[in-house]
Symmetry: C2
Amino acid sequence: MKGDSRLSRMLHVLLHLGEQQGPVTSELMARMLNTHPVVVRRTMAGLREKGLVRAERGHGGGWSLARSLDRISLLDVYHAIDEPPVFALGMAEDEPRCLVEQAVNAALESELREARDKLLKRFGEITLAALAEDFERRMRRAARKSQHGGGCGAA
Amino acid sequence: MKGDSRLSRMLHVLLHLGEQQGPVTSELMARMLNTHPVVVRRTMAGLREKGLVRAERGHGGGWSLARSLDRISLLDVYHAIDEPPVFALGMAEDEPRCLVEQAVNAALESELREARDKLLKRFGEITLAALAEDFERRMRRAARKSQHGGGCGAA
DNA sequence: ACTTATGCAACATTTGCAGTTACCAATTGC
DNA sequence: GCAATTGGTAACTGCAAATGTTGCATAAGT
């Protein structure tokens, strides 16, 4: 595996939710993401708890946005998926007795914390509406070259 | 495990190498790192190939620095362990057909690339000698409070 | 020769995300 | 009421990467 793709996937389906109006089923989302409905529900559960989306059960049910895309930032989504580790790099021990290792940890933790803080700050400044705009640009550019619409194969 | 600890571990043992003069065996290093000699050899192999350390075989052999600590940066060590992934976050697909996903990937990749570049730039500015200085400070501070020396349990 | 080391391949273990199955709960339509 | 649809959740499997472990070959000192 190349990493935790939950953030990437949730951004993807949220943008699709922003396009379609009316609820979208986990089944359809799963086809968009090339995965399985249970994976969708599992990950979307966090977004529901944070109030980013709503889920309706039963006939005609599915997922819909609880806020407009310009009120959702990448940081909101990151929080909603439970803030998984940003870095693959880690310390050998968390509270080492060895003073050498303490010095190493202090330096690494300081750099990683700063990098993480800056990254999350940037995430906080980017809304899903901005990503949707970029998508529209790509749509228009693609439409000029070929003739088909630009959605997912599943959409 | 909380992440890839190879960078952390290599920094740790390199600082110990800087303290002791004369070769240190993988056996002893393994005790410093609470691991096994083969893990040490496996990871140190990269540093050897990059010319950061030397390994001598046979009686009285072991590992020693090929450069002084002020000529080794965190970035050098990162390169030497083969540049493992910095982030735990990744994309669902590398070359998606869906234009929505392309927009998501473009935004995420751009932010992650920038964060990585900045982090590695910082790594390039930090030498192991700087970490060793911080260790010395911790040593003196600990010596003032208690009576024992400040090395590893294994050292 | 014997002992001490590294070098290296092969295999087992662990950890976390992803995939899958199964069953329950809620809601709609007949 | 009953069947069909859809989310909620637990439990299990699959998989990839770092780590742990064993075994054996190679090199160097005594």
